[in-house]
């Protein structure tokens, strides 16, 4: 019973989310645009704004705030405890899900404390520097295939999708630099933690900030190197093009073609999120961390930023290594199973694909929580050894081998 609910509830939730996303972007906006007064709806800036707003409000924020509950509940299940089950809305306790509401209320009500000698401006700026880059990076995440608003109820194939009129990509910003943009923006997040550590005028937070900056800078190198292999294999940096290059057949997905790159990238990116095997910046029993002086919603923003990073890491892992929004064997015109084609209308395919994307993201989050509650924290020297002496050389070797294999395939024409 519990297991069925465990799989059924997220699937239902993401199916609802997918219906909302596809409905608003694929049906409501073209409907507005079809009227003479609604031409502004096809404006790319308006669409980008709507997509980012929908993505953040319908997907990222709900998952991130539910993760605060999920982390406690999942850790409880892993440690043979019950976990949060007390907070309720009008007596409805729902396995403790209302706890995240209680947390939000608590954080808003708490005193907003600024230490006397802290640099007030930087102290205020730091949480924003931590959370804004994480939101911005979501612009490159493709959460579905391209919508052809005029053929929603028809069966379409790849060529009609590529050439259809008024196509709406389910991705906020389709920019060619793609993942480079992600690295550029994500490295801004280190300012948030370092500034928080420095501006609090506290030795422990300064130590935490220093640890954070050294750790994040070290692991960014590995992170970039680890994903280079995927660049070489798929020949593109643009996330949606990567998803298209992977195709609906799981044998072509990044995890099969770049297993080592996937492990390395996941490890390095987990170090970037500063969560438990790598939570030295906040090591509660050592230095408490860069946000030791933060209270109330300022702390809440750091807390939330961490969970949004978890969601984003899952999204990028899904995009680069797990076929993004691709459902296994689901092509634009329906399922292709062993020479048989089960045709489906465009809108059903879109909803299935967006649901699959959401499920991949939540499974990624689940796996990160699993790792977070399984591994103990590294020591700083172990962390640096792992980053520079193990992960970096292995990722460089991975690039070399991948490059040779790609070159060999190009030269000798295996397809």
């Amino acid at each position: 019973m519990g297991l069925i609910l465990l799989f059924l509830i997220p699937t239902m939730a993401f199916a609802g989310m997918a219906v909302a996303l596809v409905g608003i972007l694929g049906a409501a906006i073209p409907w507005i645009a079809s009227h003479p007064w609604g031409a502004w709806a096809m404006d790319p800036w308006f669409q980008a704004l709507i997509k980012l707003a929908l993505l953040v409000l319908l997907v990222v924020m709900p998952i991130a705030s539910l993760l605060t509950w999920m982390e406690r509940k999942q850790s409880a299940m892993m440690q043979d405890r019950i976990g949060p089950n007390r907070a309720g809305i009008l007596g409805w306790r729902g396995w403790g899900i209302p706890h995240f509401v209680a947390d939000a209320v608590k954080m808003i009500m708490k005193e907003d404390f600024v230490p006397a000698k802290a640099n007030r401006f930087l102290f205020t700026l730091a949480p924003l520097m931590a959370i804004i880059p994480v939101f911005v990076t979501f612009a490159i995440v493709p959460f579905g295939a391209t919508v052809c608003p005029h053929q929603l109820l028809q069966v379409v194939n790849e060529t009609t999708v590529n050439s259809c009129k008024d196509a709406i990509p389910l991705q906020t910003a389709r920019i060619d630099v793609g993942l480079i943009f992600y690295f550029a923006i994500a490295s801004l997040a280190v300012y948030g933690t370092t500034l928080a550590g420095w501006a609090s005028y506290n030795k422990w937070s300064l130590l935490g900030g220093l640890r954070a900056s050294s750790q994040m800078m070290s692991y960014e190198v590995t992170m970039g190197m680890a994903i280079l292999g995927a660049f070489l294999v798929f020949g593109t940096l643009e996330p949606n093009a990567m998803v298209l290059a992977q195709g609906p057949n799981p044998i072509d997905w990044g995890i099969v073609k770049q297993p080592l790159g996937a492990v390395l990238f996941f490890t390095a990116a987990m170090a970037e999120t500063k969560r438990t095997p790598f939570d030295l910046p906040e090591g509660e029993n050592e230095v408490i961390g860069y946000f030791v002086e933060y209270s109330g919603m300022r702390f809440g923003i750091f807390f939330l930023a961490e969970f949004i990073e978890v969601v984003f890491l899952s999204a990028i892992m899904a995009t680069v290594f797990f076929g993004g929004w691709q459902v296994p064997f689901l092509y634009a015109d329906g399922f292709h199973l062993a020479d048989r084609v089960f045709q489906m209308p465009h809108v059903v395919v879109l909803i299935l694909q967006t649901t699959a994307w959401g499920l991949k993201v939540i499974i990624g989050c689940w796996f990160q929580l699993l790792v977070r509650w399984t591994m103990p924290r590294f020591r700083p020297d172990q962390l640096m050894n792992l980053g520079w002496k193990r992960l970096l050389p292995i990722s460089l070797a991975n690039i070399l081998i991948t490059a040779f294999v790609v070159l060999a395939i190009q030269a000798w024409g295996a397809h």
Binding site: M1, L6, R81, N85, V263, L370, V371
Partner: protein, 188 residues
């Protein structure tokens, strides 16, 4: 990894044996996968059945007390509902914590007294049960199994006669003993 298993002797003469670094630990991943397997097994078992969960959700569900747990005192009652206690002062004499206060009064029956005041300070009580053993007429018992209630003020933890009698029941012992009690082999 060279010399990972070599023993060294430190300056103080202590033999230092390095931790054995096996390949699975040195490369992290096999060891991590093993650990993830353990936590994942617990996760899915608890989601599916919840049989491993050790927590007792306290106010809804209470852990059973041990069989010999005594709990709060109670004063037993006679057939007419009055207190069995004859204010003989055995229990305050036996009490090592001096937590029992009895003030006796006349009953009109020249053979026995009764307590006007019978107070037990549950904060001082050490739950030894000596008062129960000292009682000659089965008036005081410590078998309710009721946990001492938390109170806001100290004097609320001093239980009076009515409170103690409220948990009391009728004893099957005969008040004052049976006439030929020496002949009775089975004492209830």
């Amino acid at each position: 990894m060279e010399g990972a298993f070599k023993k060294r002797t430190s300056k103080a003469g202590v033999t230092v044996v390095p931790r054995p670094e096996t390949l699975s630990k040195a490369t992290w991943l096999p060891a991590l996968a093993k650990g993830l397997g353990v936590t994942m097994r617990h996760f899915f078992t608890n989601i599916a059945t919840g049989k491993d969960i050790a927590t007792i959700p306290y106010p809804e569900e209470k852990a059973p007390y041990p069989h010999r747990y005594r709990g709060l005192h109670r004063l037993m009652l006679r057939d007419d509902g009055s207190v069995r206690c004859v204010a003989c002062m055995c229990c305050p004499t036996a009490c090592p914590a001096h937590c029992i206060t009895i003030v006796a009064e006349e009953t009109g029956n020249p053979n026995e007294k009764r307590p006007a005041i019978f107070e037990i300070d549950e904060l001082r009580c050490v739950v030894c049960g000596l008062c129960v053993e000292a009682c000659p007429c089965d008036a005081i018992r410590m078998d309710t199994g009721v946990h001492a209630h938390p109170t806001e003020r100290r004097f609320e933890a001093v239980l009076g006669k009515t409170d103690l009698m409220s948990r009391g029941t009728q004893s099957i012992a005969t008040q004052g003993g049976t006439k030929d009690w020496r002949d009775t082999e089975k004492t209830p």
